[in-house]
């Protein structure tokens, strides 16, 4: 029989080992899945984990793409992680991401076609403010009326999606777009475009912003009084009150930071890879970032690694799909397995597995 015994403190060794073990277990379980689907499991696993990084054919393109895909995930996830540590649950980053992009698009379209160095910084500001404002709705409703910020922020995602559809088909529609939904191509408007900073690296300003956000969050959590308050509020809410933490202020701060980061991510994505406001502009980054935040154990460095790992499974998963004719659902199951194993194995950090012999139990039963 197996029995779990709680460890007095989480095991450091297992903390580092679990991600590796989880990836190995995913490879085995995923390999079985691919075999059942009639594909060569070794080839599939190689396509997902190895080829995007090292294959001659794809790596030159897909390695930089890791940064492109991971950038917004990391930027949103670090913002969310601050609130999550304090027990403030912003589930609506997807909506803040959309509203940030809409505000940035509004700035770009207002200036179009004038060229000015001010357009891009103004768009960043508008994106951050838009995301912040959208996050303030659940924050203020919570502090003033004690509503549940999980529900309000989540439902506001659907409101934002309708706003997005209205913008793409209505007030932001490209007048030269032959009546099709979608705004002007902001990526083709020189003053507003978010291009690669160094060609071939995949690093655009969104990646730089993600890097700065990670540093900011790391320093804040380690060195700043707000970081201390966040930790305290999450671990011991009553103690936090005695220590002078104002819960309302903390909610506004945490929701605001995560909203602003998500809004900025939306802006960089709009002016860069996504190119324009379209009905399906939001690709689920805001929700995936929640997974990234927890996968990275709410630690800024962990979030960077988790973001890159998830980006790798997306890009490798796409390769595997068309190289082996695998359905998208198979890749989603594979990604699900990875998350499952990573989170399930956490139990090994917190608990010790004990093997004990069932003899005594059986004799007692007799």
């Amino acid at each position: 029989m197996l029995r779990l015994e709680k460890r007095p403190s989480p095991s450091k060794a297992w903390n580092y080992a679990t991600p590796v073990v989880a990836v190995l277990l995913t490879m085995i379980a995923g390999g079985i899945l691919f075999t059942i689907l009639g594909k060569n499991p070794f080839e599939a696993i190689k396509l997902i984990f190895w080829d995007p990084l090292f294959s001659e054919q794809f790596a030159a393109y897909s390695r930089p793409q890791l940064l492109v895909k991971a950038g917004p995930l990391i930027l949103i996830a670090v913002g969310l992680s601050i609130g999550f540590r304090a027990g403030i649950w912003n589930i609506g980053a997807e909506g803040q991401y959309i509203v940030g992009a809409l505000c940035a698009a509004a700035v770009a379209l207002a200036f179009y076609p004038a060229e000015s160095v001010l357009v891009f910084p103004l768009m960043i500001l508008a994106g951050a403010l838009g995301g912040w404002a959208w996050a303030m709705i659940p924050a203020i409703l919570r502090t003033k009326f004690n509503t549940n910020e999980i529900l309000v922020s989540l439902l506001l995602v659907y409101v934002a999606e309708k706003l997005l559809a209205a913008a793409a088909t209505g007030f932001m529609r490209n007048p030269q777009g032959a009546g099709f939904p979608g705004s002007r191509n902001i990526n083709q408007y020189a003053s507003a475009a978010n291009h690669e900073i160094f060609a071939g690296t995949g690093l655009h300003w969104g990646g730089v912003a993600a890097f700065i956000a990670v540093l900011f969050t790391y320093v804040m959590l380690q060195r700043h009084i707000l970081g201390f308050q966040v930790q305290l509020a999450g671990q011991a809410p009553r103690a936090a009150r005695f220590a002078g933490v104002a819960p309302a202020r903390l909610v506004l701060m945490c929701m605001g930071i995560s909203g602003a980061f998500a809004g900025m991510a939306g802006m960089f994505e709009l002016a860069g890879p996504a190119r324009l406001i379209s009905i399906d502009f939001n690709a689920g980054y805001g929700f995936t970032a929640i997974i990234v935040a927890f996968l990275g154990r709410l630690n800024p460095i962990g979030i960077v690694l988790a973001g890159l790992l998830l980006a790798l499974t997306y890009i490798g998963g796409e390769l595997a799909q068309f190289m082996l004719n695998l359905p998208a659902a198979a890749i989603q199951v594979f990604q699900g397995m990875l998350l499952f194993f990573l989170l399930a194995l956490d139990v090994l950090s917190n608990y010790r597995v004990r093997l004990f012999l069932p003899q005594r139990a059986t004799t007692e039963n007799v």
Partner: protein
């Protein structure tokens, strides 16, 4: 056996090499990638494209290798997937949703030797981007005629996706032809703001039936409205593929997207080295728009009337948008006998006279 295979393949290779004038290309099959917006199992839009892909694969056998990625969101993911397809050695890429336009054009500029085919798009920013679309409004005219004849309550329900020209064109075509055979009809439009959302589509179908509509049309891809119609005893039409199995009693017919002739033609041209970018809009005459078998509930004389309409569109003697037609506000659009030009249709943002309600903006 092995040797014979070897001989056969080298003979085929030689034959291909002769037509292509490039031996290196001939030794490997032509690789054709497809980018799908939904799953092939949607029984709607993507299903129809995948059926055509399979038909092309069967037609060309070993000379062509097709592959696809499904559920590709429009935007950066589509761009990355098309680029990776290009890097994997694809010679031709079909992208089957209009929102892929900006990404597809960006990728096409980087890979000038790959033939890009974009369904229902409008952007051609590179010489290797071709556009194709189907004249679905021709099909809408036919089902409009059937609906006008079959309705008892004189109320027709229409589940629309997004207020874009493609959809507005279909609403107008259906309305004009229902009205022509039955001047008493009214048309109610519900906007789902989605191409594929079974729950929303089912809710829209319920709402329309509650309003007294006894016949439903849809410009969304799921089979949910048909299931509702079957339960509630309303009549309905399938979308993109034969959806009879989801509503055997009430499914009157379906407008079928038949992309196979076009895919086979274009892949053949790529094999022959004669492919050039184009912008084609085919319909009933090219068999790109076809119909599921008519349900026996449609009386013989209505079937004859529908078939006569199909034939007149096929031989070019009739265009579904023929004047006299006015806009919803009463202003003149087409004079007696005048036929709408393609440019106006592709940018259509107004209802014709008689339709109530506004196009959402």
């Amino acid at each position: 056996m092995k040797r014979r295979e070897l001989l056969a393949t080298s003979a085929a290779a030689l034959g291909l090499a002769a037509t292509l004038g490039s031996k290196a290309r001939a030794q490997t099959p032509l690789k054709v990638g497809f980018v799908y917006i939904g799953p092939p199992g949607d029984f709607g839009w993507t299903y129809a494209h995948d059926q055509a892909r399979l038909a092309a694969q069967e037609h060309f056998g070993d000379a062509v290798e097709t592959f696809y990625v499904d559920n590709v969101p429009e935007g950066p993911d589509a761009e990355r997937i098309m680029t990776q397809m290009a890097l994997s050695g694809a010679n031709m890429i079909f992208a089957t949703s209009f929102g892929y336009g900006p990404s597809l054009n960006a990728v096409a500029q980087r890979f000038p030797n790959i033939a890009f085919e974009h369904a229902t798009g409008y952007l051609q920013e590179a010489p290797n981007v071709s556009l194709y679309n189907a004249r679905f409004y021709e099909g809408r005219a036919v089902i409009g005629t059937i609906a006008g004849r079959m309705t008892q309550t004189n109320k027709i329900g229409y589940i629309a996706s997004f207020p874009i020209p493609e959809v507005i064109m279909g609403i107008n075509a259906a309305y004009i032809h229902a009205k022509k055979v039955n001047p008493d009809i009214t048309l109610s439009v519900v906007w789902a703001y989605s191409w594929f959302d079974p729950a929303q589509e089912a809710a829209a179908a319920e709402a329309l039936i509650e309003q007294g509509c006894d016949i439903l049309m849809q410009h969304t891809d799921s089979t949910a409205p048909l299931s509702v119609a079957q339960q509630r005893g309303a009549l309905a039409f399938g979308q993109a593929s034969d959806m009879t199995q989801f509503a055997p009693d009430v499914h009157l017919t379906a407008i079928i997207d038949n992309w196979a002739p076009y895919y086979i033609k274009r892949i053949q041209e790529k094999l022959d080295g004669t492919w050039v970018a184009d912008n084609v809009w085919s319909g009933i005459p090219e068999d790109e728009v076809t119909f599921a078998p008519f349900n026996d509930r449609i009386p013989a004389e209505v079937q004859d009337e529908a078939n006569a309409l199909i034939e007149s569109i096929r031989d070019g003697s009739y265009h579904p948008f023929t004047g006299p037609l006015n806009r919803q506000d009463g202003s003149a659009w087409l004079a007696e006998g005048e036929v709408a030009d393609d440019g106006t249709l592709l940018g259509m943002n107004f209802y014709v006279e008689g339709i109530t309600g506004d196009i959402p903006n």
